[in-house]
């Protein structure tokens, strides 16, 4: 019985997270944001949006270097999505946040779930 409750909660959480991130992305595309970076997976809803560039990068060191080498434009407003960010160990999250911040320009936002 408790398994069912846990699964139900998990499903509700995932639905809430999915809807939160969809809104985060939709608001950004409406504002003309063209760069999205999903760090560590956990979100794949962005492919339906218009003229945007998406990166799916593993959570790990040197994220910023890899992105820049792959055409990430540091002057463009970006949305960073850490869909599994709250599950990460503190040190790993620290490095990710620091790395994302080094790539931020005016208009950049970051979502952590």
């Amino acid at each position: 019985m408790s398994e069912v409750v846990t699964d139900d909660r998990r499903e509700r959480y995932l639905a809430l997270r999915s809807s939160f991130l969809d809104r985060f992305v939709a608001n950004a595309t409406e504002a003309g944001v063209g760069q999205f970076v999903v760090v560590g997976g956990g979100y794949s809803g962005g492919s339906t949006f218009g003229p945007t560039r998406w990166w799916q990068v593993p959570s790990g060191p040197a994220m910023d270097k890899a992105l820049v080498e792959d055409g990430f434009q540091v002057e463009s407003p970006t949305r960073f999505i850490l869909a599994k960010g709250a599950k990460l160990a503190e040190e790993e999250l620290f490095h990710l946040l620091r790395s994302a911040r080094s790539l931020a320009s005016p208009g950049t936002r970051l979502a952590i779930c």
Binding site: E75, S76, F94, R101, S102, P106
Partner: protein, 370 residues
């Protein structure tokens, strides 16, 4: 999972600032953050974006939490409270004394340039120009490499707009433009808006804008390229009137920088950027703040009692009036304060308004309004 408290510390350490989201999302542990414009210094964490670095220059001052302690040490005063009024500008409450204002400038600004502004104000005070007063003989100090200047806090309220007040401002501007200064001071440009550039002229300001608009092209969304091109073209075509007569000018002599008290003369505040630059540019920024033809007429009428503009200055008054709104429009886009569509529309309206103001000013100058 990081606890909210831990996450909040992590965000601060990594230079992010959480923004308000719905209660439901908060309860689920979600966070949305935007960059806190705090420099990280050199190294891998440093901001790579040129526009991001500019925002750090504009919006960040170091060690302001210890400003009270710094002033206590420098001047032997007992600071009760420090309250931020604007970026880098603080009201300092002193135990058993009148409050001060402390202005903390970016560390890239030489202390000597701040001292020069103090010298200008010391020069203007005895000739009767209503400048802010200094509470101490040596009002410039350095906090973590950043020059700090202190002035007495001016009690009162901002001057209201209206024809009578623009007459007062026009008169003061005319007086300022006729103040005699030695040649040494004439080597120090001024007039730039201090959230864009310091210690430079309107021509220098346009150079800064060009350098920032170039990386800002990456902010342009699909379908709005023509708006960006128009904005760049406006900056390229802008005329800083550098070949026209110069005078000592306050960069923003407008009602919000005039503090009034019943029965007293107004005091002119916010002198950052005072210097030697084309007087028509200085007049232009004042006229741009005038909201109606009567105010324009009143300012011009009072100004011309002191200064006679040349035909060339009159011909280029429209570009002088349009300069500040162009700077503000570009700045809003560059720093991400406003989107390009809004900025472009705003600039279009302001350009039309500037042309109208210049026409009204020319009519007033020729006496046609009387």
């Amino acid at each position: 999972m990081a606890a909210p408290q831990q996450l909040s510390v992590l965000l601060e350490k990594t230079r992010w600032r959480a923004v308000k989201i719905s209660e439901k999302s908060q309860r689920a542990g979600f966070v949305v953050a935007l960059p806190a414009w705090v420099p990280a210094g050199d190294g891998p964490a440093a901001t790579k974006s040129a526009l991001g670095c500019f925002c750090e220059w504009v919006f960040h001052r170091d060690a302001t939490a210890s400003l009270g302690e710094h002033l206590s040490g420098a001047y032997g005063i007992a600071v009760e409270r420090v309250e931020e009024l604007d970026v880098g500008t603080f009201k300092v409450q002193i135990k058993s004394g009148s409050p001060w204002v402390a202005r903390v400038f970016p560390s890239t600004r030489p202390e000597a340039d701040v001292q020069r502004e103090v010298d200008v104000m010391h020069h203007l005070d005895p000739v009767g120009f209503p400048v802010e007063k200094f509470p101490v003989a040596r009002p410039v100090s350095v906090l973590e490499g950043q020059p700090v200047v202190v002035t007495e806090f001016v009690h009162g309220s901002e001057m209201k707009s209206g024809a009578a007040n623009f007459g007062r401002i026009g008169r003061l501007l005319g007086e300022l433009h006729t103040v005699q200064v030695d040649e040494g001071w004439q080597r120090h440009p001024g007039g730039a808006w201090h959230h864009l550039a310091l210690d430079t002229s309107p021509a220098g300001e346009l150079m800064v804008l060009r350098s920032l608009l170039s990386p800002a092209r990456h902010r342009v969304t699909v379908g709005e390229e023509n708006l960006y091109d128009k904005l760049v073209a406006a900056v390229e075509a802008a005329d800083a009137c550098a070949d026209l007569p110069h005078a000592l000018g306050h960069p923003d002599l407008v009602p919000r920088n005039m503090i009034v008290r019943p029965g007293k003369s107004p005091t002119v505040i916010d002198w950052a950027g005072v210097g030697w630059y084309p007087r028509v540019m200085s007049l232009g920024s004042t006229l741009w703040a005038a909201r109606d033809a009567r105010s324009v007429s009143s300012a011009v009428g009072a100004y011309r009692e002191k200064v006679t503009l040349s035909a060339a200055e009159m011909d280029r008054l429209a570009t002088a009036v349009a300069h500040r709104p162009l700077v503000l429009a570009c700045w809003s886009f560059i720093t991400g304060r406003e989107d390009l569509a809004w900025v472009a529309k705003c600039w279009e309206n302001q350009l039309a308004r500037s042309l109208k103001i210049a026409d009204q000013a020319r009519v007033a100058w020729s006496g046609g309004d009387r």
